[in-house]
Symmetry: C2
Subunit: 234 residues, 2 copies
């Protein structure tokens, strides 16, 4: 049996809607706190309310929106406290995943990681905040997958996806250079290459926090407020 020649498979409409909305949130088309109206989106996407609804519940599942019964669904607005919680917890789980991945790492897996790094480099070169965030996420997902721990993968995914959406928006607002993303991921690959447990732990632990430091040190309580301030500055 050969693989599919080209993907004819149409995924469910709700799935397509889900991906569309996810992208929109990542690239900042919708803003944290902004309401997503079912009927309106249905009209926009030319599908039924039902399918939009299902897409929204999927987004809720990965933590990108919050659904309030009889009120509506809103793009998740992480508070400073929640971001701190997620960063800390992510650090703990990433370290565990890293250690487990190290036990199972193969030359082929290392090569795959380098491919993912290539994607990050490519995204940085075109200066696309959105694509960097996506490539970054895919890089880490690969590590989680290599760890062979399905539960860990799911937890990390849920914990991290909203953080990445957040980073993506934050970086753009701050007009932050994307170059750093390349080196910090190269370090991770080198740590895996070294085969030293302690090195992997250290590098991964240090990996995520820097990006948020400016925000966490600021007075700003959430992204919504940051956006307001930034827009006023102009």
């Amino acid at each position: 049996m050969r693989g599919k020649l080209f993907s004819i498979k149409n995924s469910p409409l709700s799935e397509q809607a889900y991906k569309t909305l996810l992208d929109a949130i990542f690239n900042g088309s919708f803003f944290p706190g902004e309401p997503l109206r079912e009927l309106h989106l249905a009209q926009e996407l030319e599908i039924s309310q039902t399918s939009v609804r299902e897409a929204l519940t999927k987004l809720e599942h990965v933590g990108l929106v919050v659904r309030v019964p009889n009120k509506g669904t809103f793009v998740t607005e992480l508070s400073k406290k929640e971001i701190e919680e997620r960063i800390t917890l992510r650090g703990t789980l990433e370290e565990i995943a890293g250690v487990e991945a190290l036990k199972r790492i193969t030359p082929a897996a290392l090569a795959d990681l380098n491919l993912k790094l290539g994607n990050i480099i490519r995204a940085v070169s075109i200066n696309s905040y959105f694509e960097v965030a996506q490539a970054d996420l895919e890089f880490h997902r690969l590590i989680w997958k290599i760890s062979g721990n399905k539960t860990l993968y799911e937890m990390l995914d849920q914990l991290t996806v909203p953080l990445f959406a957040f980073i993506s928006i934050l970086r753009r607002f701050e007009k932050e250079s994307l170059d750093g993303a390349i080196e910090s991921h190269r370090e991770i690959i080198e740590a895996f290459g070294s085969g030293v447990d302690g090195r992997v732990r250290e590098v991964i632990r240090q990996h995520s926090s820097p990006i948020y430091i400016n925000f966490l040190n600021s007075e700003t309580e959430n992204l919504q407020a940051l956006a307001r301030k930034t827009l006023l500055r102009k």
Copy 2:
């Protein structure tokens, strides 16, 4: 404004259906691996397919069922490996939650924990596997809540709920005595009362694993298989 005298609020049908199905899974009315047909359940519960669907996605969200596009939704069937993963991860997160909870514990919170223990004792006294599992879960949820870490709460909830459903079924099959549940939770309260960080860590770490040991040491690969074996034994 006073609180509602008695709950007149009708929650959404999907929510009611969700709770009904959750209970059914916990008390073993549906078996791991068993398919849940939307139209059939709709008829059974006298609501529309749409509402059942939404309830099923909620169940998927807490990990109690698996939905396969165009195929159906099935009660989650945890493999031995997944159970091990969840137990390990739960241990790690429970320890973190315990330590954070200890920092914030108050006499009132301790009293609340004792109330929850009371519920466990009551459930044990009537020998209800289902209610013990529920009370047990509520006990731990309170600790997570005391920790003040919303992210941690959500992760633990998602990780643990399917485990509790699993325990409940497992205990009944093995006709295991429920008495142990009382003492092991009393220990946790005592640890919090002592105020000693190390004691809390130790007690919580040790807390969850014993229940599963028989199963994990057995040759049985999943609950479905265990059920088959147990039924044959009769």
